[in-house]
Symmetry: C2
Subunit: 258 residues, 2 copies
Protein backbone atom coordinates (compact mmCIF):
# COMPACT_ATOMS: atom_id res chain seq x y z
CA UNK A 1 0.00 0.00 0.00
CA UNK A 2 2.55 2.51 1.10
CA UNK A 3 5.05 1.23 -1.42
CA UNK A 4 2.46 1.52 -4.12
CA UNK A 5 1.71 5.07 -3.10
CA UNK A 6 5.38 5.94 -3.27
CA UNK A 7 5.66 4.34 -6.68
CA UNK A 8 2.64 6.27 -7.86
CA UNK A 9 4.11 9.55 -6.72
CA UNK A 10 7.41 8.76 -8.39
CA UNK A 11 5.58 7.99 -11.58
CA UNK A 12 3.69 11.26 -11.35
CA UNK A 13 6.98 13.04 -10.84
CA UNK A 14 8.16 11.63 -14.14
CA UNK A 15 5.02 12.80 -15.84
CA UNK A 16 5.76 16.47 -15.31
CA UNK A 17 3.53 19.48 -15.75
CA UNK A 18 0.90 17.98 -18.01
CA UNK A 19 0.02 15.25 -15.56
CA UNK A 20 -0.95 11.72 -16.36
CA UNK A 21 -4.20 9.85 -16.63
CA UNK A 22 -5.23 7.04 -14.36
CA UNK A 23 -5.03 4.23 -16.87
CA UNK A 24 -1.47 5.03 -17.88
CA UNK A 25 -0.40 5.14 -14.27
CA UNK A 26 -2.08 1.82 -13.60
CA UNK A 27 -0.33 0.28 -16.59
CA UNK A 28 3.06 1.69 -15.68
CA UNK A 29 2.85 0.33 -12.15
CA UNK A 30 1.09 -2.90 -12.93
CA UNK A 31 -1.87 -2.03 -10.72
CA UNK A 32 -5.54 -2.49 -11.33
CA UNK A 33 -7.57 0.55 -12.20
CA UNK A 34 -9.57 0.36 -9.01
CA UNK A 35 -6.48 0.24 -6.82
CA UNK A 36 -4.93 3.13 -8.66
CA UNK A 37 -8.11 5.08 -8.37
CA UNK A 38 -8.31 4.51 -4.64
CA UNK A 39 -4.69 5.53 -4.15
CA UNK A 40 -5.07 8.69 -6.18
CA UNK A 41 -8.19 9.63 -4.25
CA UNK A 42 -6.41 9.15 -0.93
CA UNK A 43 -3.39 11.16 -2.03
CA UNK A 44 -5.57 13.86 -3.48
CA UNK A 45 -7.36 14.13 -0.18
CA UNK A 46 -4.06 15.05 1.42
CA UNK A 47 -3.11 17.48 -1.31
CA UNK A 48 -0.22 15.33 -2.49
CA UNK A 49 -1.88 14.85 -5.84
CA UNK A 50 -4.06 17.29 -7.70
CA UNK A 51 -6.14 17.25 -10.86
CA UNK A 52 -4.95 19.26 -13.82
CA UNK A 53 -7.69 21.82 -14.47
CA UNK A 54 -10.05 19.75 -12.38
CA UNK A 55 -10.07 17.20 -15.18
CA UNK A 56 -9.00 13.60 -15.29
CA UNK A 57 -5.26 14.06 -15.40
CA UNK A 58 -3.27 13.92 -12.17
CA UNK A 59 -0.04 15.55 -11.07
CA UNK A 60 1.93 16.09 -7.88
CA UNK A 61 0.26 18.51 -5.48
CA UNK A 62 1.50 21.56 -3.69
CA UNK A 63 1.33 19.92 -0.28
CA UNK A 64 4.47 18.05 -1.24
CA UNK A 65 6.26 21.30 -1.84
CA UNK A 66 5.36 22.36 1.66
CA UNK A 67 6.56 19.13 3.19
CA UNK A 68 9.80 19.21 1.26
CA UNK A 69 10.48 22.77 2.27
CA UNK A 70 10.64 21.49 5.81
CA UNK A 71 12.70 18.50 4.72
CA UNK A 72 15.26 20.70 3.03
CA UNK A 73 15.57 22.89 6.08
CA UNK A 74 15.43 19.75 8.12
CA UNK A 75 18.99 18.77 7.59
CA UNK A 76 19.91 22.08 9.14
CA UNK A 77 22.67 22.21 6.58
CA UNK A 78 20.76 24.38 4.19
CA UNK A 79 20.38 27.19 6.64
CA UNK A 80 24.01 26.95 7.66
CA UNK A 81 25.33 26.82 4.11
CA UNK A 82 23.12 29.39 2.49
CA UNK A 83 25.28 32.40 3.37
CA UNK A 84 28.33 30.56 2.07
CA UNK A 85 26.58 29.76 -1.19
CA UNK A 86 25.44 33.34 -1.49
CA UNK A 87 28.97 34.66 -1.02
CA UNK A 88 30.40 32.24 -3.53
CA UNK A 89 27.78 33.09 -6.11
CA UNK A 90 28.09 36.76 -5.43
CA UNK A 91 31.86 36.92 -5.71
CA UNK A 92 32.31 34.53 -8.60
CA UNK A 93 29.13 35.29 -10.47
CA UNK A 94 28.62 31.56 -10.98
CA UNK A 95 25.86 29.21 -9.84
CA UNK A 96 26.39 27.36 -6.57
CA UNK A 97 24.80 24.16 -5.32
CA UNK A 98 24.34 22.33 -2.05
CA UNK A 99 23.96 18.61 -2.56
CA UNK A 100 23.16 15.78 -0.15
CA UNK A 101 22.86 12.05 -0.45
CA UNK A 102 19.55 10.22 -0.65
CA UNK A 103 20.01 6.49 -0.93
CA UNK A 104 21.68 5.74 -4.25
CA UNK A 105 21.13 9.29 -5.44
CA UNK A 106 22.35 12.78 -4.83
CA UNK A 107 19.79 15.55 -4.45
CA UNK A 108 20.18 19.28 -4.95
CA UNK A 109 18.96 20.82 -1.71
CA UNK A 110 19.82 24.44 -2.36
CA UNK A 111 21.04 26.56 -5.20
CA UNK A 112 22.12 30.15 -5.60
CA UNK A 113 22.05 31.82 -8.99
CA UNK A 114 25.06 33.66 -10.31
CA UNK A 115 25.09 36.56 -12.73
CA UNK A 116 25.59 34.14 -15.52
CA UNK A 117 22.39 32.21 -16.07
CA UNK A 118 22.76 28.50 -16.74
CA UNK A 119 19.26 27.72 -15.64
CA UNK A 120 18.27 25.29 -18.32
CA UNK A 121 21.56 23.44 -18.24
CA UNK A 122 21.62 22.49 -14.61
CA UNK A 123 19.56 20.87 -11.92
CA UNK A 124 17.17 22.89 -9.82
CA UNK A 125 16.40 22.34 -6.16
CA UNK A 126 15.12 18.78 -5.95
CA UNK A 127 17.16 17.71 -8.93
CA UNK A 128 18.25 14.11 -8.71
CA UNK A 129 21.17 12.15 -10.13
CA UNK A 130 22.87 8.84 -9.37
CA UNK A 131 25.66 8.97 -6.80
CA UNK A 132 28.81 9.19 -8.89
CA UNK A 133 27.38 11.40 -11.60
CA UNK A 134 28.02 15.13 -11.25
CA UNK A 135 30.82 16.86 -9.43
CA UNK A 136 29.07 17.25 -6.09
CA UNK A 137 27.69 13.76 -6.26
CA UNK A 138 31.18 12.33 -6.75
CA UNK A 139 32.50 14.33 -3.82
CA UNK A 140 29.86 12.86 -1.54
CA UNK A 141 30.38 9.29 -2.70
CA UNK A 142 34.14 9.56 -2.32
CA UNK A 143 33.74 10.34 1.35
CA UNK A 144 31.80 7.19 2.20
CA UNK A 145 33.35 4.09 3.76
CA UNK A 146 35.01 1.81 1.24
CA UNK A 147 32.44 -0.97 1.44
CA UNK A 148 29.71 1.58 0.97
CA UNK A 149 31.36 3.00 -2.13
CA UNK A 150 31.60 -0.43 -3.70
CA UNK A 151 27.99 -1.20 -2.90
CA UNK A 152 26.82 2.04 -4.48
CA UNK A 153 29.02 1.61 -7.53
CA UNK A 154 27.75 -1.87 -8.27
CA UNK A 155 24.16 -0.79 -7.74
CA UNK A 156 24.50 2.29 -9.91
CA UNK A 157 26.86 0.95 -12.57
CA UNK A 158 24.06 0.38 -15.03
CA UNK A 159 22.86 3.95 -14.78
CA UNK A 160 26.12 5.67 -15.65
CA UNK A 161 26.05 5.09 -19.37
CA UNK A 162 23.00 7.25 -19.91
CA UNK A 163 24.90 10.13 -18.36
CA UNK A 164 27.83 9.56 -20.66
CA UNK A 165 30.24 8.15 -18.09
CA UNK A 166 31.78 4.74 -17.60
CA UNK A 167 32.36 3.01 -14.30
CA UNK A 168 36.09 3.49 -14.80
CA UNK A 169 35.68 7.21 -15.24
CA UNK A 170 33.64 7.39 -12.05
CA UNK A 171 36.27 5.44 -10.15
CA UNK A 172 38.95 7.73 -11.46
CA UNK A 173 37.07 10.80 -10.29
CA UNK A 174 36.49 9.28 -6.87
CA UNK A 175 40.22 8.75 -6.56
CA UNK A 176 40.87 12.37 -7.46
CA UNK A 177 38.55 13.57 -4.72
CA UNK A 178 40.19 11.28 -2.22
CA UNK A 179 43.62 12.59 -3.22
CA UNK A 180 42.87 16.29 -3.48
CA UNK A 181 39.85 16.72 -1.24
CA UNK A 182 38.13 18.40 -4.15
CA UNK A 183 37.15 17.78 -7.75
CA UNK A 184 37.43 19.86 -10.87
CA UNK A 185 35.49 18.58 -13.86
CA UNK A 186 35.28 19.69 -17.45
CA UNK A 187 32.48 18.81 -19.81
CA UNK A 188 30.59 17.51 -16.82
CA UNK A 189 27.44 16.06 -18.33
CA UNK A 190 27.14 18.92 -20.78
CA UNK A 191 29.91 19.87 -23.19
CA UNK A 192 31.42 23.19 -22.18
CA UNK A 193 30.09 23.05 -18.63
CA UNK A 194 32.67 22.80 -15.88
CA UNK A 195 32.31 22.26 -12.16
CA UNK A 196 34.28 22.39 -8.95
CA UNK A 197 33.05 20.51 -5.92
CA UNK A 198 34.08 19.98 -2.32
CA UNK A 199 32.81 17.49 0.22
CA UNK A 200 31.46 18.73 3.53
CA UNK A 201 32.62 16.55 6.39
CA UNK A 202 31.09 17.32 9.78
CA UNK A 203 33.76 16.76 12.43
CA UNK A 204 33.59 13.20 13.63
CA UNK A 205 31.25 12.05 10.85
CA UNK A 206 31.44 10.73 7.34
CA UNK A 207 30.85 13.12 4.47
CA UNK A 208 27.17 14.02 4.29
CA UNK A 209 27.02 16.72 1.66
CA UNK A 210 28.95 18.69 -0.91
CA UNK A 211 28.99 22.12 -2.41
CA UNK A 212 29.61 22.65 -6.09
CA UNK A 213 30.01 25.56 -8.45
CA UNK A 214 29.01 25.14 -12.08
CA UNK A 215 30.21 27.46 -14.81
CA UNK A 216 30.75 27.76 -18.51
CA UNK A 217 34.22 26.33 -19.02
CA UNK A 218 35.41 29.21 -21.18
CA UNK A 219 34.61 31.74 -18.49
CA UNK A 220 37.36 30.73 -16.09
CA UNK A 221 40.98 29.87 -16.85
CA UNK A 222 43.12 27.53 -14.75
CA UNK A 223 44.28 30.30 -12.47
CA UNK A 224 40.79 31.60 -11.80
CA UNK A 225 39.59 28.09 -11.10
CA UNK A 226 42.35 27.56 -8.59
CA UNK A 227 41.43 30.80 -6.85
CA UNK A 228 37.78 29.81 -6.75
CA UNK A 229 38.68 26.44 -5.31
CA UNK A 230 40.67 28.06 -2.52
CA UNK A 231 37.76 30.35 -1.82
CA UNK A 232 35.48 27.34 -1.61
CA UNK A 233 37.86 25.56 0.74
CA UNK A 234 37.66 28.46 3.14
CA UNK A 235 33.88 28.52 3.05
CA UNK A 236 33.63 24.79 3.61
CA UNK A 237 36.10 24.97 6.46
CA UNK A 238 33.93 27.61 8.11
CA UNK A 239 30.80 25.52 7.62
CA UNK A 240 32.48 22.46 9.09
CA UNK A 241 33.64 24.47 12.05
CA UNK A 242 30.12 25.69 12.73
CA UNK A 243 28.91 22.09 12.55
CA UNK A 244 31.30 21.14 15.33
CA UNK A 245 29.26 23.25 17.70
CA UNK A 246 25.81 21.66 17.34
CA UNK A 247 24.52 25.21 17.36
CA UNK A 248 20.83 25.85 17.82
CA UNK A 249 18.82 22.98 16.52
CA UNK A 250 15.64 24.84 17.36
CA UNK A 251 13.17 25.78 14.70
CA UNK A 252 13.74 28.92 12.66
CA UNK A 253 11.69 31.98 13.55
CA UNK A 254 8.20 31.62 12.16
CA UNK A 255 8.36 34.63 9.95
CA UNK A 256 6.28 36.61 7.51
CA UNK A 257 4.80 35.48 4.30
CA UNK A 258 5.40 35.38 0.62
Amino acid sequence: MLDRAVGLLRQLGEAGAGGQQLSRLADALGLSASTTHRLLAALEHHGWVERVDGGKRHRLGAALVALAGQAADGTGLRRICRPALARLSGESGETTFLIVRSGLNAVVVDRQEGDYVIESLTQGVGGLMPLGIGAGSVAILAGQPLAEIEAVLSANAGRYAQFGSSLEQVRHRLARVQADGALMLDDSLIAGLAAISLPIRPPGHAVTAAIAVNFIASRLDAEARQALLERMRREVAAVEASLAVPATLSRPPRGGEG
Copy 2:
Protein backbone atom coordinates in the same frame (compact mmCIF):
# COMPACT_ATOMS: atom_id res chain seq x y z
CA MET B 1 -2.25 3.25 6.75
CA LEU B 2 -1.59 5.87 4.15
CA ASP B 3 -3.27 8.49 6.29
CA ARG B 4 -1.12 7.50 9.19
CA ALA B 5 2.00 7.78 7.07
CA VAL B 6 0.98 11.26 5.98
CA GLY B 7 0.32 12.25 9.56
CA LEU B 8 3.68 10.90 10.58
CA LEU B 9 5.47 12.91 7.92
CA ARG B 10 3.59 16.05 8.92
CA GLN B 11 4.60 15.48 12.49
CA LEU B 12 8.21 15.03 11.45
CA GLY B 13 7.98 18.26 9.52
CA GLU B 14 7.00 20.01 12.71
CA ALA B 15 9.95 18.50 14.51
CA GLY B 16 12.52 20.28 12.40
CA ALA B 17 16.24 19.70 12.13
CA GLY B 18 16.79 17.85 15.38
CA GLY B 19 14.36 15.11 14.51
CA GLN B 20 12.06 13.27 16.86
CA GLN B 21 12.14 9.94 18.60
CA LEU B 22 9.74 7.13 17.92
CA SER B 23 7.89 7.22 21.21
CA ARG B 24 7.06 10.93 20.94
CA LEU B 25 5.77 10.44 17.44
CA ALA B 26 3.63 7.53 18.55
CA ASP B 27 2.22 9.61 21.40
CA ALA B 28 1.53 12.63 19.23
CA LEU B 29 -0.34 10.56 16.67
CA GLY B 30 -2.04 8.17 19.05
CA LEU B 31 -0.41 5.15 17.48
CA SER B 32 1.13 2.12 19.08
CA ALA B 33 4.88 1.92 19.16
CA SER B 34 4.96 -1.10 16.88
CA THR B 35 2.83 0.58 14.23
CA THR B 36 4.94 3.69 14.35
CA HIS B 37 8.08 1.67 14.11
CA ARG B 38 6.84 -0.20 11.07
CA LEU B 39 5.78 3.01 9.36
CA LEU B 40 9.10 4.67 10.00
CA ALA B 41 10.96 1.67 8.66
CA ALA B 42 8.90 1.67 5.49
CA LEU B 43 9.36 5.39 4.95
CA GLU B 44 13.05 5.15 5.70
CA HIS B 45 13.36 2.44 3.09
CA HIS B 46 12.12 4.93 0.50
CA GLY B 47 14.35 7.72 1.73
CA TRP B 48 11.43 9.79 2.94
CA VAL B 49 12.64 9.55 6.51
CA GLU B 50 16.20 9.37 7.73
CA ARG B 51 17.93 8.85 11.05
CA VAL B 52 19.72 11.76 12.62
CA ASP B 53 23.38 10.72 12.87
CA GLY B 54 22.31 7.13 12.39
CA GLY B 55 20.82 7.24 15.86
CA LYS B 56 17.29 6.83 17.09
CA ARG B 57 15.87 10.19 16.11
CA HIS B 58 14.02 10.54 12.84
CA ARG B 59 13.56 13.41 10.44
CA LEU B 60 12.30 13.99 6.91
CA GLY B 61 14.57 12.57 4.23
CA ALA B 62 16.11 14.03 1.12
CA ALA B 63 13.99 11.93 -1.22
CA LEU B 64 11.11 14.25 -0.37
CA VAL B 65 13.14 17.20 -1.56
CA ALA B 66 13.60 15.46 -4.87
CA LEU B 67 9.93 14.67 -5.22
CA ALA B 68 8.92 18.17 -4.34
CA GLY B 69 11.31 19.66 -6.81
CA GLN B 70 9.28 17.91 -9.45
CA ALA B 71 6.04 18.93 -7.80
CA ALA B 72 7.04 22.57 -7.81
CA ASP B 73 7.96 22.43 -11.47
CA GLY B 74 4.91 20.30 -11.95
CA THR B 75 2.46 23.15 -12.02
CA GLY B 76 4.44 24.48 -14.93
CA LEU B 77 3.84 27.88 -13.40
CA ARG B 78 7.17 28.02 -11.71
CA ARG B 79 9.12 27.74 -14.91
CA ILE B 80 6.91 30.29 -16.60
CA CYS B 81 7.03 32.78 -13.75
CA ARG B 82 10.67 32.52 -12.80
CA PRO B 83 11.94 35.08 -15.32
CA ALA B 84 9.24 37.48 -14.18
CA LEU B 85 10.22 37.03 -10.55
CA ALA B 86 13.86 37.50 -11.44
CA ARG B 87 13.14 40.76 -13.26
CA LEU B 88 11.02 42.07 -10.42
CA SER B 89 13.64 41.22 -7.83
CA GLY B 90 16.42 42.55 -9.98
CA GLU B 91 14.79 45.89 -10.74
CA SER B 92 13.28 46.55 -7.34
CA GLY B 93 15.91 44.89 -5.20
CA GLU B 94 13.17 43.30 -3.14
CA THR B 95 12.25 39.68 -2.51
CA THR B 96 9.63 38.14 -4.80
CA PHE B 97 7.38 35.13 -4.22
CA LEU B 98 5.26 32.77 -6.26
CA ILE B 99 2.44 31.29 -4.23
CA VAL B 100 -0.13 28.62 -5.02
CA ARG B 101 -3.04 27.12 -3.19
CA SER B 102 -2.93 23.76 -1.46
CA GLY B 103 -6.24 22.88 0.16
CA LEU B 104 -6.85 25.33 2.97
CA ASN B 105 -3.30 26.66 2.75
CA ALA B 106 -1.11 28.72 0.52
CA VAL B 107 2.36 27.42 -0.29
CA VAL B 108 5.43 29.33 -1.44
CA VAL B 109 6.52 27.56 -4.62
CA ASP B 110 9.29 29.87 -5.71
CA ARG B 111 11.19 32.80 -4.37
CA GLN B 112 13.80 35.19 -5.71
CA GLU B 113 16.07 37.10 -3.39
CA GLY B 114 16.45 40.81 -3.71
CA ASP B 115 19.47 42.87 -2.73
CA TYR B 116 17.88 43.51 0.57
CA VAL B 117 17.96 40.34 2.62
CA ILE B 118 14.84 39.57 4.61
CA GLU B 119 15.60 35.90 4.81
CA SER B 120 14.70 35.26 8.38
CA LEU B 121 11.54 37.31 8.26
CA THR B 122 9.84 35.57 5.43
CA GLN B 123 8.79 32.15 4.21
CA GLY B 124 11.13 30.06 2.12
CA VAL B 125 10.12 27.75 -0.68
CA GLY B 126 7.72 25.28 0.88
CA GLY B 127 6.55 27.81 3.43
CA LEU B 128 2.94 27.31 4.43
CA MET B 129 0.23 29.62 5.74
CA PRO B 130 -3.56 29.53 5.97
CA LEU B 131 -5.42 30.89 2.96
CA GLY B 132 -6.27 34.44 3.96
CA ILE B 133 -3.04 35.15 5.80
CA GLY B 134 -0.32 36.91 3.85
CA ALA B 135 -0.65 39.17 0.85
CA GLY B 136 -0.30 36.51 -1.82
CA SER B 137 -2.52 34.14 0.06
CA VAL B 138 -5.29 36.74 0.20
CA ALA B 139 -4.97 37.40 -3.50
CA ILE B 140 -5.49 33.73 -4.27
CA LEU B 141 -8.44 33.34 -1.96
CA ALA B 142 -10.14 36.43 -3.32
CA GLY B 143 -10.20 34.92 -6.77
CA GLN B 144 -12.11 31.78 -5.78
CA PRO B 145 -15.84 31.32 -6.32
CA LEU B 146 -17.94 32.89 -3.59
CA ALA B 147 -19.10 29.64 -2.01
CA GLU B 148 -15.50 28.46 -1.94
CA ILE B 149 -14.36 31.61 -0.18
CA GLU B 150 -16.97 31.19 2.52
CA ALA B 151 -16.06 27.55 3.00
CA VAL B 152 -12.38 28.39 3.39
CA LEU B 153 -13.06 31.29 5.71
CA SER B 154 -15.18 29.27 8.07
CA ALA B 155 -12.68 26.43 8.04
CA ASN B 156 -9.72 28.72 8.67
CA ALA B 157 -11.34 31.26 10.96
CA GLY B 158 -9.87 29.70 14.05
CA ARG B 159 -6.34 29.89 12.70
CA TYR B 160 -6.26 33.61 11.98
CA ALA B 161 -5.79 34.81 15.52
CA GLN B 162 -2.37 33.25 15.87
CA PHE B 163 -1.25 35.30 12.89
CA GLY B 164 -2.58 38.48 14.41
CA SER B 165 -5.56 38.94 12.12
CA SER B 166 -9.29 38.81 12.68
CA LEU B 167 -11.84 37.33 10.32
CA GLU B 168 -13.12 40.83 9.65
CA GLN B 169 -9.68 42.02 8.62
CA VAL B 170 -9.33 39.10 6.25
CA ARG B 171 -12.70 39.83 4.71
CA HIS B 172 -11.76 43.46 4.28
CA ARG B 173 -8.55 42.54 2.49
CA LEU B 174 -10.39 40.12 0.23
CA ALA B 175 -12.72 42.94 -0.76
CA ARG B 176 -9.77 45.16 -1.57
CA VAL B 177 -8.29 42.56 -3.90
CA GLN B 178 -11.66 42.11 -5.59
CA ALA B 179 -11.97 45.85 -6.07
CA ASP B 180 -8.41 46.70 -7.14
CA GLY B 181 -7.14 43.42 -8.55
CA ALA B 182 -4.19 43.74 -6.22
CA LEU B 183 -3.35 44.15 -2.56
CA MET B 184 -0.96 46.39 -0.69
CA LEU B 185 -0.38 45.47 2.91
CA ASP B 186 1.56 47.15 5.71
CA ASP B 187 2.75 45.39 8.80
CA SER B 188 1.84 42.13 7.15
CA LEU B 189 2.50 39.56 9.85
CA ILE B 190 5.65 41.35 10.95
CA ALA B 191 5.72 44.96 12.01
CA GLY B 192 7.54 47.04 9.43
CA LEU B 193 7.18 44.48 6.67
CA ALA B 194 5.04 45.46 3.71
CA ALA B 195 3.85 43.47 0.74
CA ILE B 196 2.22 43.91 -2.64
CA SER B 197 0.48 40.97 -4.27
CA LEU B 198 -1.35 40.19 -7.48
CA PRO B 199 -3.45 37.20 -8.40
CA ILE B 200 -2.57 35.20 -11.49
CA ARG B 201 -5.66 34.22 -13.44
CA PRO B 202 -5.10 31.86 -16.36
CA PRO B 203 -7.52 32.85 -19.13
CA GLY B 204 -10.73 30.91 -18.76
CA HIS B 205 -9.91 29.65 -15.27
CA ALA B 206 -10.22 30.73 -11.67
CA VAL B 207 -7.23 32.26 -9.94
CA THR B 208 -4.65 29.58 -9.24
CA ALA B 209 -1.67 31.48 -7.94
CA ALA B 210 -0.30 34.85 -6.95
CA ILE B 211 2.93 36.73 -7.01
CA ALA B 212 3.97 38.93 -4.13
CA VAL B 213 6.81 41.27 -3.31
CA ASN B 214 7.82 41.73 0.31
CA PHE B 215 9.88 44.67 1.49
CA ILE B 216 10.81 46.71 4.51
CA ALA B 217 8.05 49.30 4.67
CA SER B 218 10.40 52.22 5.11
CA ARG B 219 12.26 51.39 1.94
CA LEU B 220 9.48 52.38 -0.45
CA ASP B 221 7.22 55.43 -0.32
CA ALA B 222 3.72 55.52 -1.77
CA GLU B 223 4.89 56.60 -5.16
CA ALA B 224 7.51 53.89 -5.43
CA ARG B 225 4.98 51.30 -4.35
CA GLN B 226 2.58 52.42 -7.03
CA ALA B 227 5.31 52.14 -9.63
CA LEU B 228 6.22 48.67 -8.42
CA LEU B 229 2.59 47.62 -8.56
CA GLU B 230 2.30 48.76 -12.15
CA ARG B 231 5.46 46.89 -12.97
CA MET B 232 3.99 43.78 -11.39
CA ARG B 233 0.76 44.19 -13.34
CA ARG B 234 2.70 44.13 -16.57
CA GLU B 235 4.61 41.01 -15.58
CA VAL B 236 1.45 39.21 -14.53
CA ALA B 237 -0.30 40.20 -17.73
CA ALA B 238 2.56 38.70 -19.70
CA VAL B 239 2.45 35.51 -17.66
CA GLU B 240 -1.29 35.21 -18.15
CA ALA B 241 -0.89 35.73 -21.86
CA SER B 242 1.67 32.96 -22.07
CA LEU B 243 -0.73 30.69 -20.18
CA ALA B 244 -3.37 31.24 -22.85
CA VAL B 245 -1.18 29.38 -25.29
CA PRO B 246 -0.72 26.04 -23.52
CA ALA B 247 2.89 26.28 -24.67
CA THR B 248 5.10 23.26 -24.43
CA LEU B 249 4.01 21.00 -21.64
CA SER B 250 6.92 18.72 -22.30
CA ARG B 251 9.56 18.05 -19.72
CA PRO B 252 12.45 20.48 -19.35
CA PRO B 253 15.77 19.45 -20.86
CA ARG B 254 17.50 16.96 -18.60
CA GLY B 255 20.48 19.10 -17.92
CA GLY B 256 23.75 19.11 -16.07
CA GLU B 257 24.30 18.70 -12.41
CA GLY B 258 24.73 20.62 -9.23
